[in-house]
Symmetry: C2
Subunit: 118 residues, 2 copies
């Protein structure tokens, strides 16, 4: 089975299938640092990333932004001093889609490939 980082986000329209409970459970194992949160009845993936200053947080925001553009799937990114909070969900279906897990996994890989937490 391909890992999430080997997959690519696909165009997602209203009516596309939401992730099933089984899929959520399976995919979450590949992104253990992401929490499942529900805000305004919409399930979302969220991870808080910590950095030693503002510049590193902003640099990470740009890494996330670049991945988002590559995948054509755009999360909410909150940048603060020493902290970036990324929240991912699929607007078109107001739910979680496989795309969300793929983007989360690629963001984790993007962090690992950077030297921002050294």
């Amino acid at each position: 089975m391909d890992s999430l980082t080997e997959m690519e986000c696909v165009a997602c329209r209203p009516g596309a299938p939401a992730a099933t409970d089984d899929e959520v459970e399976r995919w979450q194992q590949e992104i253990p640092d992401w929490k499942l949160v529900t805000v305004r009845d919409i399930p979302r993936l969220r991870r808080v990333f910590r950095f030693s200053n503002f510049a590193r947080a902003l640099a990470f925001t740009n890494i996330v932004g670049e991945l988002a553009e590559e995948e054509g799937h755009h999360p909410r990114i909150t940048t603060e001093w020493g902290k970036v909070t990324v929240t991912i969900w699929t607007h078109a279906i107001k739910n979680l889609h496989r795309n969300d897990f793929i983007l989360a996994a690629k963001i984790d890989a993007g962090l690992a490939a950077s030297n921002l937490t050294e």
Copy 2:
């Protein structure tokens, strides 16, 4: 009287004076697009900026980030597709300080100097 954009943020420690009601009223006139919001009992300045895509929103986030580093005063910046929400307050005093209005005015000037809303 100097306009806010001609001032610079100063180091702000616990015990520094919060903006008075008169100051808030006066300074708000220089930044009419910012709303005064209170979240968790802390007054904050907030403005939502709209853009035509994600790349422009992210470019604006970087402009705000650069201004924040120059002033040594760091807001919360939430970047989404076509939208950046900036929230400013002074952590050290859990209140609004003149610094917050100065940063807001400089962010407005940064937007005006960019071509991101064309």
